[in-house]
Symmetry: C3
Subunit: 150 residues, 3 copies
């Protein structure tokens, strides 16, 4: 049996793994550049963004966009550039066609003229779906490592 | 042939590259969630974990599990969440069927209720093998950047 | 067609995505290990390295090598190990055969015997080309997050 035949990873898995990585690369840039409407459009219309740092989940694109706009305004007022890194992707394809994508998340903050630092370390558990050929987040659960898990 | 001419271009290389990334995503989560038995099972039965920060290498799954259990207990006692990030993967398939996988490693620590920070920056050089279809670490050499290389 | 509809899904895209990640893994190791001639060889002969932290771009391999040698000497004199992480890759294949590769960049510094920390957070926008089968950087624009964008 050749090495290729022994591989657990199919061509489809491989393509999806890279597609998710590229999706995150694009998605988090939208957030970090305050393109909040485009950011919200990476969630399904009824998408949910839940976090143990939020009093309640943001439900639906409008709420997700409002939340991002508020955060972006606060950062702009402080002159702080955020960078969201998602990494250490562990993905699983579910029987119903959805994809579970678990990542570690780092938020790096840099004040204008100041020193960069790790602001937050989190985990990010996504449920991804495909609509009209595009990956979208249907449900995101972010857990900050400094707070009790929700 | 230079290192650059050995770049990952075949379908098999591509699948393996993603498989290793996903393997690390899964493997380091096991360690970070203190699933130390499952963590040890990601090494071969006679696997070696060597580090310039350890007085001597951990040899075999039992020793690797004991080392991880000790570290996990200490972190739990301190209320600290660790996250191991492996990135910047550079892989090479060896003639004997093994795979050399070099990564950079960051250890991010977050105390409960406190500030996240970079605890350690390291390199991680793995020799990976496939057993019963699964990737396993046969030999891992971690080098902390703050200590002399072993 | 929205940006999200242009996602990497073909086998060729997938292979290229992994090849770029592996290229960066190799390339930045060369810089971080002070292999400055090999580092310069990952740029085209007329390659440009521009940065908002540099008074002017480095033009051509010789200038890129000189710049890297100077930086490496300063770090060695200070006993500091740098690690360049490129992540969150967002790639796009251009009609002329070149590839646009956008990444986030973290520079982690560790003094010998001291504490690791995030030194800089940046974005890195590359124009990649293939010469004799190898990926090379034709143009790199680095933007430090703490300085005004150039």
């Amino acid at each position: 049996m050749s090495a290729l035949e022994q591989m657990a990873t199919t061509t489809q898995d491989t393509a999806l793994y890279c597609e998710i990585q590229n999706f995150y690369g694009r998605q988090m840039r939208l957030l970090d550049s305050a393109a909040v409407e485009d950011w919200a459009a990476t969630f399904t219309e009824d998408g949910v963004f839940a976090a143990n740092g939020h009093p309640q989940p943001h439900q639906g694109r409008d709420a997700i966009e409002r939340g991002a706009r508020q955060a972006a305004s606060a950062l702009a007022a402080q002159g702080v550039q955020r960078r969201h890194w998602l990494g250490m992707l562990d993905m699983a394809q579910n029987a119903d066609g959805t994809v579970s994508a678990r990542t570690y998340a780092l938020i790096i903050e840099t004040p204008q003229g100041g020193q960069s630092h790790v602001q937050l370390s989190c985990t990010c558990d996504d449920l991804l779906v495909r609509e009209a050929g595009r990956l979208l987040v249907r449900h995101r659960q972010v857990q900050r490592d400094d707070l009790p898990r929700s």
